[in-house]
Symmetry: C2
């Protein structure tokens, strides 16, 4: 190969993923001319504190001066791995306006300002690649935008948060309760000191918003996503679910129906035989249904230094290939539709319910009539442990609109024979 | 969108997949300008018999004249779905020389003449896309060539033949023997009248050759692949494997080791907890290990009209995007290395063995000493059913070179106390 060109890139951020990307580029140094058609050099790394040494990263690459990157005409690609909204948003916009290609792993930003960023992509006819924003190392964005693009996709459903999947796996496998499993996840570094974004489903909500936007060719923002976390899931829910043949997972669900699309994150009972049911611990998986491909699933490590760096490297090779071939901006914004996003009350599902009721004759009949009056049909009901004049009812309903189940539960809550509504979890299928 | 260009394409073959592709292009007619940047028109379909009507395909598109396609300057893309070596090979080469982009699902051709076809790709700087050649609708070729390209991939392992997976699933789930499961697969149309290519592992061998070529950047041909089918697998093998915590699958395995790469197809015991273990019936799955991504898995339907058409459509959109952006041939041949391909005798594995031996004192000691003398360590041994003066030994060995196990079995076969060697199946891990 004669006269191999060299493409210079800058990293924004030198944390776990930034460090991983730098090391991986070094590791692949001799391969990149063959793989991408060019040498790739990380020539600048933007950090807040330039005096702090980072293991494996030469100090002389560090800078705290964004202008020295965005104004350097030799830097053709900017890789944003800082996270958060600002200054990441401004930097990405400025980089695109300066004629650079951009790569980002920033799900928060994409789920909130995806439309603004995509407008900049269209205006500047540049690449903005973001494979690492969903599912860590799992190839999913590119397969959705390319390999499966000949489909009408009607469902994208995924386990896209490793922290909650670890917690639920521990609760399921070892019978732990939520607090104990969370404590273990925190100790092992799987959960952050403030686990809110993970356990309340916000992180998964951003990822499903990104995937839904691609799958339905319709801009879906985080604010459009209904989110419900795992903090109310108990060991009893998991045990009863198992008796019915289900496991409980925190799922991001994007589904197209005749009257619009649904995009939501919540715990869900899925059949123990479903491919997603065996995806445990820190693994992520995304399940896709399309009119042509039927069912497909993608699984892998949802986070971590090198798995995430693997996704960024795939994007980097993609961007370099496009630069070499003169076709940057080859795949731009794909949101050419504006499908209606249904409010949660209008979605339909089956529901798993756990009620503590007075153990007296007529109780079941009274409860059943509330469901019946609200159009909720019961699919299965089991009466569990009776003691202290109290009985526990575990119910799985037929498919019904969410607002109807909410109405029924509101009425039940006001009835003297109902002591407590202990659980309400949606059921797949 | 003003002045949307129209790209014309020709189909070679109007069988199951060809028909599916034609229908899918029609179904996506209004979407393709947005998805691919152009209208796509199938303007000619090459068939052997033009007078036979095909449901859903206009008769006037049919032709038996290849020259009318290859000499038509308006046809920019040729989609080969005829299968077999000739005339597919000649047509693809002629199409590329005539300046056309090509798409093919032809695993036989790619696994045998991949080098010749890739030379034509390089010479003509054109696209040759073949996502549909492996794993039906599952995106795997593109993820390997693009998303995971920043990895050193060390293992690609897959269930890539639906017929044998169906047969083994039935044997496992319902205790059927091989002949019964094959008969059912034939009746349901999962197995062809002559099932040789499937049950002997040739079909899987072609697919693993294609994936290994990409993963290891080294041309691997079908003739380099060791193949062993499932015809000798018995219900007893499956039952005993299950007792040890394993299921039996026909796997294509490509693995890089320090002294070279191994590429092989054979039945294998995999732990029941491995993600591939739950891939049943007509589903396919490919498991990948890379230095950065760690483990990843891709699952979906391995065959069928629309799943395969989904993969072809992904390639078609890719080729159209490249034509519109002027970057055809963007990802060319990636075999820039020549890694040594190890002969099967030099590979290492653990082995599951089933021996019928004389039930007399000293038999086990005699057998154990043959293993010991040949450097084979026993990991587990169970003595099963004893009757008629005969005992059955089920053995799992430690990891050992294949030639050593073969030597040991040759010696055992000559010993009077060994009545029969009933099974020898490799064990994962």
């Amino acid at each position: 190969m004669n006269q191999i060109p060299t493409i210079k890139a800058a990293l924004l951020g030198a944390g776990t993923v930034g460090g991983g990307v730098y090391k991986l580029v070094q590791r692949q140094k001799d391969e990149l001319p063959y793989k991408a058609g060019a040498n790739v050099e990380i020539s600048r790394i933007l950090v807040r504190n330039t005096s702090k040494h980072r293991e494996g990263i030469p100090d002389e690459l560090l800078t705290d001066d964004w202008k020295s990157i965005v104004n350097d005409p030799e830097i053709k690609i900017v890789i944003e791995l800082m996270g958060g909204i600002e200054p990441a948003r401004t930097y990405l916009l400025e980089a695109m306006r300066a004629g650079k290609q951009v790569i980002t792993a920033n799900k928060d930003l994409l789920a909130e300002y995806g439309d603004e960023l995509m407008e900049a992509v269209t205006e500047n006819h540049c690449d903005m690649l973001y494979e690492a924003s969903v599912g860590g190392g799992i190839p999913i964005i590119h397969p959705l935008k390319q390999c499966l693009e000949g489909n009408d996709l009607t469902e994208v459903m995924g386990i896209v948060n490793g922290t909650t999947n670890y917690i639920l796996s521990k609760m399921t496998g070892e019978g732990m309760d939520y607090a104990e499993a969370l404590a273990q996840a925190t100790e092992l570094g799987y959960a952050e000191a403030d686990p809110t974004a993970d356990v309340e489903g916000y992180d998964a909500g951003r990822k499903i918003a990104i995937m839904a936007s691609i799958a339905f060719h319709t801009r879906v923002k985080f604010e459009d996503v209904y989110t419900e976390g795992i903090t109310k899931i108990t060991a009893a829910d998991i045990r009863y679910a198992s008796e019915f043949g289900y496991v409980i997972k925190l799922l991001g669900v994007a589904r197209e129906q005749e009257d619009g699309v649904e995009v939501r994150v919540h715990p869900m009972l899925i059949p123990a035989t479903h491919p997603l049911a065996t995806v445990n611990d820190a693994f992520n998986a995304v399940f896709v249904h399309g009119d042509a491909v039927d069912d497909a699933m993608f699984m892998g490590r949802g986070a971590g230094e090198f798995p995430t760096a693997s996704a960024v490297m795939g994007d980097l090779i993609d961007a370099v290939r496009n630069l070499i071939q003169g076709c940057s901006g080859r795949i731009g914004c794909s949101c050419y539709k504006k499908k209606h996003i249904k409010p949660m009350e209008q979605t339909s599902s089956r529901y798993f319910l756990r009620l503590q009721v007075e153990d007296r004759s007529g109780a079941l009949a009274g409860i059943a009539s509330v469901f019946g009056n609200n159009g909720v049909s019961i699919y299965q009901v089991v009466q569990k442990a009776r003691h202290d004049g109290k009985a526990e009812l575990v119910i799985i309903t037929e498919n019904v609109e969410e607002r109807r189940i909410r109405d029924a539960l509101t009425i039940l809550q006001g009835m003297s024979m109902v002591r407590e509504i202990s659980g309400m979890i949606r059921v797949y299928g």
